[in-house]
Amino acid sequence: MLTVEKLNAFYGKKQVLFGVDLTLRDRSIAAVIGPNGAGKSTVLRSIFGLVRERQGRITFDGRDVSHLSPVHNIAAGLAFVPQGARVFRELTVQENLRMGGYTLPSAVLAQRRESALQAFPVLSERRTQKAGALSGGERQMLAFAMALMLRPRLLLIDEPSIGLAPKLVTQIFDTISAIREELGTSVLIVEQQAQQVLRVADTVFVIRAGELISHGPVENYRGEDVLRQVYLSNRTSQVN
């Protein structure tokens, strides 16, 4: 459903991505892994239109979305969960959910908000609290819930594990898995902690220094040695 061809991205003069290709099947979870600073987040941000200096072709459901801004990507069925459990800290949980569904008609919005609160009981308990007062895990849940308000067909998630305790990380990835099961949403997820994401992903893309260095079904990446190679050894290694 999503294909990315020859994606280059720049921050000012600095080229961050060098001809990255990705494909994602419907209702699948794909993981983009790789060491820090490899440009993983930039892949997501470029797809979503937050990085404006980008080249290459991105198609979603057969439609060219290469040059769309976030607003239009949302309309096309994408949603993005940024890094760092980013929520509107000065807004309450409920308000954040409302903002997540900013583009929806109010009746739908109210109904979706209720179901979001049901789906995330933690949030329901704290619906009138400021998001800034939530714990890191709760904020990450809220960020998911916000993105899901729009019932996107494709969810882009940027490093959900950052700053979270291991137990919470497990929970987060279970949630992602559940989202796919229940809502049929495809997920493209960027993660630095490989082990966890590999538990839920179907496909894996490995990025290093802005280049795609390997990709394949998740089974190929399950061994420790493979990962060690990916992360710790020189860049020419091929996995599949």
Partner: protein, 261 residues
């Protein structure tokens, strides 16, 4: 855990350093030391607190508790420029070049103890000032040349390519004559060829008597360059040792790579 790589007294010592932001423990009871003439690397995932450690060392942040000793003298609590003058120079992840200054000025600005660096001296002028300026500029030119930036002296920093900007950042760092260099991701964003070039330069710096503390994501480089590696996770040190040791350390696999056996 193995012992330190050499028995000399360490150049830099961090003792039980802690720093929180609000409720977030960015650095927690962190201790390690950096031996003179070595390359020590600080690794860990995003948000592990590495850059915070740099900011604590350079005085850009004040520690909540703990001490930092440089050449056996406490430097925690000193303002950043005094720490820099004591001999600790740093580079920044986002370079922080003086964008609209020429390459030459970027490097020349960093030369320590210049005559004419104070308002009064610059007003008074004089032949000695001129001579000193000439000398400093010559030095800056020399550094630019070493960094293959000859011919770009008058270009504004913002006009250089990213790779050149990284080199310029290194030039500025070297001009400070600091003994301990803190490098924050020196190879990030560089082409493979340039990464090699940088590694070579870093090695040569040590040969020339500098000491280096490195934050680096490229583990391969870390393994190749470092004499000593400190691994951080969520503000705490979870392992340290020579590269091979760290590579096989279980808890590093566990937390840093997210591999839970």
């Amino acid at each position: 855990m193995s012992t330190s790589p050499s028995s000399n007294s360490p150049l830099l010592v961090l003792e039980d350093l802690s720093k929180s932001f609000g409720g977030l423990r960015a650095v927690h009871e962190l201790s390690f030391s950096v031996q003179a003439g070595s390359i020590t690397s600080l690794i860990g995932g995003n948000g592990a607190g590495k850059t915070t450690v740099f900011n604590l060392i350079t005085g850009n942040l004040g520690a909540d508790s703990g001490h930092i000793l440089f050449r056996g003298r406490r430097i925690d609590g000193l303002p950043p420029h005094k720490i820099a003058r004591a001999g600790i120079a740093r580079s920044f992840q986002d370079l922080r070049l003086f964008s609209r200054l020429s390459a030459l000025d970027n490097v020349a600005a960093a030369i320590p103890q210049q005559r004419g660096e104070s308002l009064l001296a610059s007003l008074l002028g004089g032949a000695r000032l001129k001579a000193a300026n000439r000398e400093n500029e010559a030095r800056a030119r020399g550094l630019l040349e070493q960094l293959t930036l000859a011919g770009h002296e008058e270009s504004l920093a913002e006009q250089l390519s990213y790779g050149q900007q990284k080199l310029l950042g290194l030039g500025r760092l070297l001009a400070t004559e600091g003994e301990l260099l803190l490098l924050d991701e020196p190879t990030a964003g560089l082409s493979p060829g340039m990464v090699e070039d940088f590694c070579g330069r870093i090695r040569r710096l040590v040969d020339a008597g500098k000491t280096i503390l490195l934050i680096e994501h490229n583990v391969e480089i870390v393994m190749r360059l470092s004499d000593w590696v400190v691994v951080m996770h969520q503000g705490e040190k979870i392992a340290e040792g020579v590269p091979e040791e760290v590579r096989h350390n279980v808890s590093v696999m566990h937390t840093y790579l997210g591999i839970s056996s």
